[in-house]
Subunit: 365 residues, 2 copies
Amino acid sequence: MSVKDLTAYSISRHKPYTPGEQPTILERTIKLNTNENPYPPTPQISESILAQITDLNRYPNSSADDLRSTIANLHNVHPDQVIVGNGSDDILNLCVRCFSDRSKSIGMLDPSYSLYEVLGSLQGTEVKKIPFKDQNFTIEPDIISQSGTNIFFLTSPHAPTGRIYENTVFSSILKSYLGILVIDEAYADFAPFNAIPLLAESERVIITRTLSKSYSLAGLRVGYALAGKEVISILNKAREVYNVDRLAQIIAQIALKDREYFDETTRKIISVRERVYKTFIDWRWYTYPSGANFLFTQPLNYSETSGRDIAEDLYKYLNDNNVFIRYFPSNQLTSSFLRISIGKEEEMDMLIELINTWKIQEQPK
Amino acid sequence: MSVKDLTAYSISRHKPYTPGEQPTILERTIKLNTNENPYPPTPQISESILAQITDLNRYPNSSADDLRSTIANLHNVHPDQVIVGNGSDDILNLCVRCFSDRSKSIGMLDPSYSLYEVLGSLQGTEVKKIPFKDQNFTIEPDIISQSGTNIFFLTSPHAPTGRIYENTVFSSILKSYLGILVIDEAYADFAPFNAIPLLAESERVIITRTLSKSYSLAGLRVGYALAGKEVISILNKAREVYNVDRLAQIIAQIALKDREYFDETTRKIISVRERVYKTFIDWRWYTYPSGANFLFTQPLNYSETSGRDIAEDLYKYLNDNNVFIRYFPSNQLTSSFLRISIGKEEEMDMLIELINTWKIQEQPK
C-alpha cells in the first residue's frame, strides 16, 4: 500500500496552520508581525537557570504542580482549576480533542485565530465559521447560542483587531448557549479587564492564557487554561504526561512571580500602543482601539487606489525595509488592514518615519 | 448540558497513561524506576544557554531547521527525513493521528510501551494488542502481517525486557506487512546496532528516537523520527507549529554534537549494566540480556512463595529503603519480574547490597 493510502482520512484533507513569517534577523530588522514582546524576559531567569541544567536528566513533574500553584495564586483560583500546556496552542488542541468529535461540532467567529479551524480539521470534526456581520466586530450572543455547536472559541481581546468585549457579552452567551465556551485571552494582560470573574458563573467556560506575549516567553512555549475542576480533569485526560519540560516550568514560575518586571514592560507596551494609535488616528487611518499588543489599521492615502492595494503596497514597502508586519488578504473584512505588533519605542518611531516617507511617495502627483 | 454530556465520545472512555512514580527526592533516594540517565547532560549546555535566555521573547524556529540538520548529519539522512517532537511521545502521537482513524486500526505487541494504546484510545481508533506467545518475547512477522492493522508499533530494544531484535526480523515484516511500521528505538543507543539501515528498504518504516535516555535530557522533552520524506511531510501536517521551544532546540543540538560526552556516559551505563547482569545471573535470577539502560529480572529465593509475591515483596522492600524501581503486576508475563534502570556505579552497588540484605531476610528459616 502507498503511504497516501495509509494516511488517516482527516489528515489527507487537512491544511496545517501557517505561522507568521520568521525572517532572517539582520541588525536593522524590525519584527512586528507575530505579536511577540519586544523586551527580553525577566533577568531573574538567568540567575536561576544554570542550577537546573544539571537536573535535566530527570523527567519533569508531570502535573507541573509548582507552576500550577503559582498560576492559581495569581488568579485566586484552586490549583485543580489550572492546566498547563506546551504553549496555549497545546491547550486549545486539548479543548478540541476533549469537546469535539464526529457528532460534536466546533464554532468560531470569522475572522479570529485561524488555529481553531486547523485543530478542528485535524480532529476530523465540523467547524462552523460564523462571519462577523460588519466592521465593528460585534459578538452576537444569539447567533452563537443558535449555532448548534458543542464548543465555541472566542478570542478576547479579538485578533486581529484587538478590540475588547465586556464580560456582559460572555455572560449573555453562557445563559443561552449550551456548549463549552472557550475565551482565548492570549492578549488580556494588555487590556483593562479580563473574563476571569466568569469562572464563578459557569462550569462550561474555559479561559486560555499564554506566557508568549505579556511575559516575553514566545520562545519557551507555556500556556495555561483556567476552568472548573471537572473540565480541567477532562482536559488532563488528553494531555501528554510530560507536556511541559523542566526548564519551561521553572522559567514560567520566575516570570509569573516577577510582578514588577511584568508591570513595567506591559505598561511600556500599552503606552507606546496608545501613542501610535493616536498617530494613526491623526492620519485619519481607521484603527481599532486595542486591548492587545498590536494595532489593526487601515492605511489611507489620497489616491484612487483600492484599500486592499494600499495595504498590500505598504506591507511590501515595509518588508523591503526590513520591517515585518502582518497582512491578511484572504478575508474581505481584513484585506484593507494591516496588523502591527507593538515593538519598543524606538522601533515604532522608525516605523512611523518609514510610513511618512512612504506616504509622500504615494501622494498623488 | 452537563460537562459530561459535552465530552467527546473517545475521551469519555479514555484511560490516560500512568507514568512511573516521581518520588520526593531525599538525599539518599536512588531512582531507578523511569529509565532516566544517572548523569547530568553535557556541561557544554550551561556555557551556551545564558545568551539564549534574552531571546526567549521571540518564537522558536517552527521547523527546527538547525536541529534537524544536526540529526540528519548524525544519521547520514536528508533533513527532510527528520521530524522533531516535544519528546518522542509527541512523535508517537503524530504517528497515531496521521496513520489511524475509524477504518485504520493500530497494532502493538503486549507487553510493550503502554502509551501506544493510550494514544489510540485518545484518537478513538481500534488498538489490536497481540500477546507475545512466550517469555522469549520473540516477534512473529506473520502474525503482524496478518493483523489487518494500518500501523504497527514495535519497541526495539523491547520494553520492559530490554531484549534486542535483529534487523532481519523487521525486513521480514516489511516484506509481508502492508501498513506503516514504527520501530520505537528509545533505547537503541545502548544496543550494539539499530534499525536505521531499514530506512533504505522501505517508505513505510518510521524510526523514533528520544534524547531522554542516552543524552540525559528526560527533563527537556526532545524526540525525533526518521522516515522517508513523504511520511515526514504527512507527520508535519499534524505537528503543532512551535512544538519544540528555543531552549530545547539549542540544548538538543549541543548534546547531540558532544560525541565524547555521549560516548563516555553511554559506555559507563553499558558497562555497569553488564556487571549487574552478571550478578543477577550469578544469583540464578532469570534476567534478559539487555540492549537498553535497564534490566528486567525475576528475583528468586528459596522459599515456596510465588514469583509474583517475591517480586512485589522486593519492590516494596526497596521502595521502603528509598530505592525506586518499576513493577508491572498486571501482565502474567511480567508480574514476577522487576524493571531496574541502570544508575551510577555506586547506586547499583547500594542496590546490590540492599538486595543481599533482603535475600538473607527472605531465606527459609
